[in-house]
């Protein structure tokens, strides 16, 4: 990486998680640098989601330390993670179909104008800012259109625009390309490039090998709750990653 000396946005050391007698994660160390796209791969039950939920503040780790931009952080709730600058784009995107794109982008942090004691929504400002964000993401999405009427790619853009609103420094995307058409996959990968250009670190959780190889700088493979590989993308191959995921190859 070009900026290997930069402070990592996210640094996990010795992260472990037990649910009763089940060890879901064991001694995971990892770093994510600013503007880096990291692929997180692994079979079902490998510990990917647990790891993501720990970073997003859904679970507290049983062991280990999380550092964000150099400072140790402890998340009790997802809101805590969001406050420091970690945003998650969920697999089902967490959009309200019956609202407009702009309303979804600003959901839970609406812009308001004060009229005496009454605060009313500032529709104009929200639409303008949303249009700006869609412009940055180069997505043809109108702020006033209902999400119900949008394509999969546009929905992704709305979900990602939401993360841009808070100037997140780390965006985690959970299977963003799982259920959309080939053309829309292109758009989503484009959106990830836009985030990278703006110095945002992206963690891409995906099952789709081609997508990971298309956008990621580095790939991390999880298996049985442990990190088995952490390699720059150009030093590995889909075959090797597959072997690591299935366990044909133990570690790399």
């Amino acid at each position: 990486m070009t900026h290997a000396d930069a402070t990592p946005v996210l640094e996990l050391s010795g992260i472990g998680k037990e649910f009763g007698a089940i060890r879901a994660l064991h001694d995971v160390d990892l770093q994510v640098l600013p503007g880096e796209v990291v692929g997180l791969m692994g079979d079902n039950g490998a510990g990917k989601s647990t790891l993501v939920k720990i970073i997003a503040g859904n679970f507290r780790p049983s062991h280990g330390e999380i550092r964000f931009a150099g400072n140790a952080v402890h998340f009790n709730r997802p809101v805590d993670a969001r406050t420091v600058g970690i945003e998650v784009v969920y697999q089902d995107l967490a959009l309200s179909d019956n609202l407009t794109a702009a309303a979804n982008v600003f959901l839970g942090r609406e812009l308001k104008r004060k009229f005496g004691p009454i605060a009313l929504l500032d529709h104009k400002a929200m639409a303008a800012r949303a249009l700006e964000l869609f412009g940055e993401l180069r997505s043809e999405t109108r702020p006033d259109d209902l999400v119900k009427q949008m394509s999969g790619g546009q929905r992704q853009a709305v979900a990602i625009a939401r993360t841009r609103l808070s100037n997140a420094r780390l965006v985690m995307m959970d299977e963003p390309t799982a259920a959309i058409s080939v053309r829309q996959v292109e758009q989503v990968l484009g959106l990830i490039h836009r985030l990278k250009e703006q110095g945002v670190a992206v963690m891409l959780i995906s099952h789709r090998m081609p997508d990971v190889f298309a956008v990621c700088d580095r790939v991390i493979v999880m298996r049985r709750g442990e990190k088995r590989a952490d390699k720059p993308i150009h030093e590995t191959s889909p075959e090797e990653i597959t072997a690591l995921i299935t366990g044909a190859k133990e570690a790399a």
Partner: protein, 356 residues
């Protein structure tokens, strides 16, 4: 990170949604409004009495009697919930209001004194008894709404079951406090009470005025406040609402409280018009109220609805009832027809959404 845009977005692949494909024009409310206008025209030709001032006043008054509660239940329906306890709530609030009024007006209450003739009771502070009794009536509605909201939002019980239970609880309590006899507004402030509930201003029935004010307030709250936006978001995708940090529990409790208060207010107004609050008052009104909301375009699956739809639904029901009376059709047909219209309204909306 205000980046200058390299080029403004061009919408080459994404067509613009036309004005007639969005907003009210593409909603069930719009279609039902159209149907209502057609119905009004038909009524005009069918009966010379329909558009007379007296009949219009009657219609306005009658639909106002369920419309305020319909506004309240629309809030709940938009979040994807349901409130079956509105009918009982109307009765209980009305009953408590008139009982408190009578109680406070009895000789010996600190709020009254005897007039010179030794028989008539006068209020020490005019209007105070009325205010306290209405607040008491709304107070019990508030409590019932909080209990509904708590059970649904915090304990996670199903809205249908919770409010079905509340329907029975509140109706039962009504019988308990009144011994099944019902109650009557009485005392020195009763005249104010009747003026405020069944009077009229310049020929416009006061319930109708309340309705218009409340509907306008509701429109502003739903479309121009963060609370309203959260209500819609909750109905559209509850999980998403939660993930984006909307206080889901609070919003849910609030809508059930709003609904109960609207029903309570409605009950108090109805009792003013009836002149009493009988223990079986407003029985099964919840069905009329929910039917009106659904006909007007509120979607029981959540996410869609508004004050205009609620009112349009109520007006449609009342115009049909009124029309059947003017046409001298047996009033037993009314209920059958209402059922047909509920299904038709939803059917037309389904066909429309298939076509686009």
């Amino acid at each position: 990170m205000a980046m200058p845009m390299e080029s403004p977005i061009s919408f080459t692949n994404v067509g613009k949604i036309r004005w007639w494909q969005r907003g009210i024009f593409a909603s069930q409310t719009g279609y039902v409004l159209l149907a209502l206008s057609v119905l009004l025209v038909i009524m005009h030709f069918a009966s010379p009495y329909f558009f007379t001032e007296g009949n219009m006043q009657n219609v306005a008054k009658n639909f106002s009697f369920i419309a305020i509660a319909t506004l309240g239940v629309t809030f709940v329906i938009i979040t994807g919930g349901i409130d079956l306890s509105v009918g009982s709530m109307m009765c209980f609030s009305a009953m408590i209001t008139s009982m408190v009024m009578t109680e406070l007006s009895a000789p010996g209450s600190p709020l009254v004194h005897m007039a010179a003739d030794g028989k008539t009771v006068l209020a020490n502070v005019p209007g105070l008894i009325l205010l306290i009794s209405i607040l008491a009536g709304l107070g019990v509605a508030l409590i019932a709404g909080l209990v509904n909201g708590f059970c649904i939002a915090v304990l996670g019980l199903s809205p249908f079951v919770t409010t079905l239970g509340m329907l029975s609880i509140v109706r039962g309590l009504g019988y308990v406090v009144s011994n099944g006899r019902g109650s009557f507004p009485g005392g020195p402030d009763a005249d104010y009470f009747y003026a405020l509930t069944s009077g009229d201003v310049l020929g416009v029935p006061v319930p109708f005025i309340y309705l218009v004010i409340l509907a306008l307030t509701m429109a502003v709250v739903l479309h121009h406040s963060a609370f309203g936006r959260h209500v819609f978001a909750l109905g559209g995708n509850e999980k998403a609402a939660e993930l984006t940090g909307i206080p889901v529990v609070r919003v849910k409790i609030e809508v059930y409280v709003i609904c109960a208060l609207a029903a309570g207010l409605q009950g108090i107004i109805i009792s003013g018009w009836l002149g009493s609050a009988p223990a079986n008052m407003a029985t099964s009104y919840e069905l009329n109220v929910i039917a009106a909301a659904v006909i007007g375009g509120a979607n029981l699956a959540g996410g869609i609805g508004g004050p205009l739809g609620a009112i349009v639904g109520c007006v449609l029901l009342e115009v049909i009832r009124n029309g059947l009376v003017l046409a001298q059709v047996s009033s037993y047909w009314q209920q059958t027809l209402v059922g047909v219209i509920i299904i038709l309204a939803v059917l037309v909306d389904r066909i429309r959404s298939r076509m686009t």
